[in-house]
Symmetry: C2
Subunit: 306 residues, 2 copies
């Protein structure tokens, strides 16, 4: 699956992923009003609003970008109805030819991780039939439980040609509380990075593995070290834009081949119309604002990797 | 919420939780046949089968136990239909007066963790209305992202009178890979335990906090240390039974008051009819087998804490 993602990054010349994290506060009033008129101020109404919002963003950006990253928490907050909107979003993005990175940060003991991996990436058997539950292309995985929590995802990557990004160093302010603590003279995140290499060994295609990692743009010095430590791992980079990461911070997340990293922006794209720079588009032009913000982001990121 | 759980544990004299982790392979043929006859060999058919299976287990055990712990991965594997069955299971268990511990192991950066916390435990605003998405009583939380990933859950505990169990030392074989690594002379899981104390400080009711922890029955020596290190934290103990933990291993998970721990069994209860000990109940008696296994487990666990 990593080859497919790389091909898409090269075709669009854009190592960029749009985060579909539709907080209701980002959704323009006219979309919410229409959804509530149809389904009431209900969970179903909220789900309709966020799906229609996503659809506008995707329609306005899919020709520019290789991938989207829906953050499932933003859907789960609306219960079952939200999860239905999540699935509709995944399906719609795949119809548009986009790689879908499910930001689910799952991870559990072996048999349970297998169910997560089957549900989000792979297939499940029901009697004589097999089905794909959510059928994303990639998923993010939490490593706290160690190899037997991650391995079932790696197995599904091999069986179903999918990929994962394992949390190594996250973008949030308190990520260092545990991740930076020194073990045998090296921070925990480097030990996790070593395991990313191990887990990824069996699914290398060309220069990269289906097992990638997450390293936040907000920690550029650590990104530089981690890039070298995991030469075969694609880095999914959150934290650009709204969280404070700048393009110049991202230079060292890329390998010499100009590949090896894909940078996410969520709020900076999907809520661009709320920023002064893109205010001229107005609420009704939220999708065009997202398109312009995506174009600007791609230019910014490409300046960093060249 | 911890007070409600403790009251239920004392009323039933059973520090025991039944794990509702319905793998299809545990579900008796007659239940699957009926579900597939109604809804086909589809994801909806599988969801119908697991919900009906759960209902049988709950009907046969709810008078004996204070709480259930549905493992959401087992539902997510069936996609949206599975999540619907999860929600029906939560609702049904609450109707029966049970505390519901959502084993979701969520954890993300701050704003995202807030959405998870709102969705699984708290409430979400839709226009002028508020709704509870999944509305469990407790959730399990992964600490890898540090305080800003956990704090939103703690806030929801305070706002909505709910509780959490933070992963400290998990029951799986490779949990030590990161969790046992020494930092300043103490294993990582002890550092996480320190933070469990900190996170829980603001929501102590009586002798215990709404912020509990997860420590596997499979690591009794560590449980002994962790029990003392976190005197106010209720310990949710997985790993008893099928994973190898024995009652005698659990003695030190309890405080001197006989409280402080609640032990989970999933497979050992819900698939009891597949074990020699309970084979006499047969497939059609799977619920009665679960009841007997629950009675036996309660007796076993109570022998350990007295």
């Amino acid at each position: 699956m990593i080859e497919k993602l790389i091909k898409a990054i090269e075709a669009k010349d854009a190592p960029v992923v749009v985060g579909l994290d539709p907080m209701l506060s980002y959704v323009p009033e006219f979309i919410k009003e229409k959804a509530y008129a149809e389904k009431g101020e209900t969970l179903a109404g909220a789900a309709e609003a966020i799906f229609n919002f996503n659809k506008g963003i995707v329609d306005a950006t899919y020709d520019l970008i290789p991938a989207v990253k829906p953050q499932i928490a933003m859907y789960e907050q609306f219960g079952v109805e939200g999860v239905i909107a999540y699935k509709k979003t995944v399906d719609y993005c795949k119809e548009k030819g986009l790689c879908v990175i499910a930001d689910v940060k799952r991870g559990d003991i072996g048999s349970t991780s297998k169910s997560y991996a089957d549900g989000h990436l792979g297939k499940v058997q029901v009697g004589s039939k097999t089905y794909a539950g959510f059928d994303a292309d990639f998923a993010t995985v939490n490593p706290y439980l160690g190899t037997d929590g991650v391995k079932p995802f790696v197995d599904v990557c091999k069986e179903s040609d999918k990929g994962i990004f394992v949390l190594v160093k996250t973008s949030n302010p308190s990520s260092g509380e545990f991740q930076d603590r020194e073990i045998d003279g090296r921070p925990l995140y480097e030990h996790v990075a070593d395991m990313v290499n191990t887990w990824g060994e069996e699914c290398i295609h060309g220069d990269y593995s289906d097992v990638g990692c997450v390293v936040g743009a907000t920690y550029p010095e650590m990104g530089k070290v981690l890039r070298k430590l995991m030469p075969k791992a694609y880095i999914l980079v959150p934290g650009y834009g709204a969280q404070g990461g700048k393009a110049e911070d991202l230079v060292h997340f890329f390998n010499a081949d100009g590949l090896g990293a894909i940078v996410n922006s969520s709020r900076g794209i999907i809520a661009a119309y709320k920023k002064d720079t893109y205010a001229k588009f107005g609420e009704t032009g939220y999708a065009e604002a997202a398109r312009q913000a995506t174009i600007d982001m791609i230019e910014d990121i490409n300046s960093a990797r060249r």
